[in-house]
């Protein structure tokens, strides 16, 4: 038996076409026995239509806006690109190891359970792994960033707040790395939203650990991974770089290594990063 507020939520999801077929059938049976709930369903459907009509008509696009935007775009193509209005905020960083495409092998010095013997060959099903590395590099400047010297507890809360799920954030102090920052990966990709922990060691080497919900990962990858076994994979287009993957408690971890000086947040802003959602970890 559903509570009333659950029924209200289900009705709204039904109106929005978000219920599964089973849920929809269950709700329909309930609506047949409950005239008030049926009336609420009709009201919600009508309200959605009223919102659609009202918001669609509320604001007319100014007549000169298209010309103005075209002019602005064409000025970028020429010599007079508009200056970026965003002020520089150097205390937040995007680690540049991946962004620069410089990935180095540090092998098993990274003490994060990379103990498996699996190897994803570069043909067949392994191709997505290799593409992944490139994609991670591409996504790197679209992330929420923080640092330096992030607190693991704060990063854990950051993960839960923005992703709605939790995962163990590896501690790699034994290998000389300290957590430098945490960020959220752009969810508009095949792997869904993910978490990124960035570590640095005093010598400047960087380590990035990306954590994804296994259910969001491509089937081709997920089906190859066994819990507790770590896999290594070659990276394409970045020389002899490598990454390591493992499945742990329903999360897929991907560790990649890199080096390079941090770049300013400006790069992130170029991709339209919401400054309002940047979380500055102590």
């Amino acid at each position: 038996m559903h509570e009333r507020h659950e029924l209200i939520s289900m009705v709204r999801q039904a109106v929005d076409g978000e219920l599964s077929a089973v849920e929809a059938r269950e709700l329909e049976a309930r609506l047949d026995r409950d005239p008030e709930l049926r009336a609420f369903e009709a009201f919600e459907a009508r309200l959605r239509e009223a919102v659609r009509v009202f918001m669609a008509d509320e604001a007319d696009t100014p007549a000169d806006l298209e010309r103005r935007v075209r002019d602005a775009l064409r000025s970028v193509n020429g010599e007079n690109a508009p200056a970026d209005p965003a002020p520089r905020r150097p205390r937040w960083y995007v680690p540049s190891g991946l962004a620069a495409g410089i990935l180095l092998i540090i092998g098993l010095s990274v003490a994060v359970s990379l103990t498996g013997r699996g190897w994803l060959t570069p043909d067949g099903g392994a191709a997505p792994v290799e593409r992944l590395a490139d994609e991670l590099a591409e996504r790197h400047d679209e992330m929420i960033v923080s640092g330096p010297q992030a607190s693991s507890d704060e990063a854990q809360r950051f993960m839960l707040d923005f992703l709605g799920w939790e995962a163990r954030i590896p501690a790699v102090a034994e290998a000389g790395f300290r957590l430098h920052g945490a960020s959220i990966l752009d969810p508009a990709r095949d792997w869904g939203a993910g978490f990124h922990a960035f570590y640095q060691e005093p010598g400047g080497r960087g380590l990035s650990v990306f954590i994804f919900h296994a259910e969001d990962a491509p089937t081709a990858i997920r089906e190859q991974l066994r819990e507790g076994v770590a896999y290594a994979a070659r990276l394409t287009s970045v020389g002899d770089g490598r990454c390591y993957l493992w499945l742990e408690n329903g999360r897929i971890y991907i560790a990649v290594t890199g080096a390079g000086a941090p770049e300013s947040l400006e790069l992130a802003r170029e991709a339209g990063l919401p400054e309002g959602e940047i979380s500055d970890l102590p």
């Binding site: 009223a50 604001a59 298209e66």
Partner: protein, 195 residues
């Protein structure tokens, strides 16, 4: 994607992008500025755009949304509060009030615009954005979550609250018209509203 290709592809969605900008800013001039900034930002990263089934429009919305909050943050001269901290102060205490469910045949839907306008203007930009993407763009919760970069649960809770507010506004209108909406949440209990 070169500038010309981008221009033709992206400007097809100018009206939709402006609507979103207007809902965030509620000011025509600010909305126009924001739209221009959005297209400039989008052009700078256009080569990274990949068609993933949804077309370019959600991507433009996402850049617009981020650009808006960058502006808000700059205006505030510091990091903006996150969703959880921004909250929904005006309504946070009453998201689960009884909802009206009156006889639709008796309700004059032709005259709800003023009430809708009042209710929508009372919402924070985040809630207006969700309403627009849901109501006008017809996006799924998951698609909205991607554009706004929030969990699906956040999209659902924002929609729930926004709809409850709109329903209460329209409920007031119905009562003024002499209708007596029943509370579906109190139906069957001793706490019926409007009776």
């Amino acid at each position: 994607m070169d500038r010309k290709e981008f221009e033709e592809l992206a400007l097809e969605h100018l009206d939709a992008v402006y609507r979103m900008a207007f809902q965030l800013t509620r000011h025509p001039d600010e909305a126009s500025d924001l739209v221009q900034e959005t297209y400039l930002k989008a052009l700078r990263v256009a080569e990274r755009f990949e068609e993933r089934g949804g077309g370019i429009r959600p991507w433009l919305f996402k850049i617009l949304h981020n650009a808006f909050y960058s502006r808000v943050s700059r205006a505030a001269r510091g990091p903006t509060a996150t969703e959880e901290m921004r909250g929904f102060a005006s309504e946070a205490s009453a998201p689960d009030e009884p909802l009206p469910a009156w006889d639709l045949a008796s309700f004059d839907w032709e005259h709800v615009d003023d009430r809708l306008k009042t209710a929508i203007e009372g919402l924070t930009p985040e809630y207006r954005a969700v309403l627009l993407l849901w109501g006008v763009e017809g996006m799924k919760y998951r698609e909205i979550a991607i554009v706004l970069e929030v969990p699906i649960g956040t999209v659902m809770s924002r929609l729930h609250r926004a709809r409850s507010i709109l329903a209460r506004q329209l409920g007031a209108l119905a009562e003024e018209a002499g209708l007596k909406p029943e509370s579906i949440e109190s139906h069957g209990s001793a706490e019926g509203s409007g009776s």
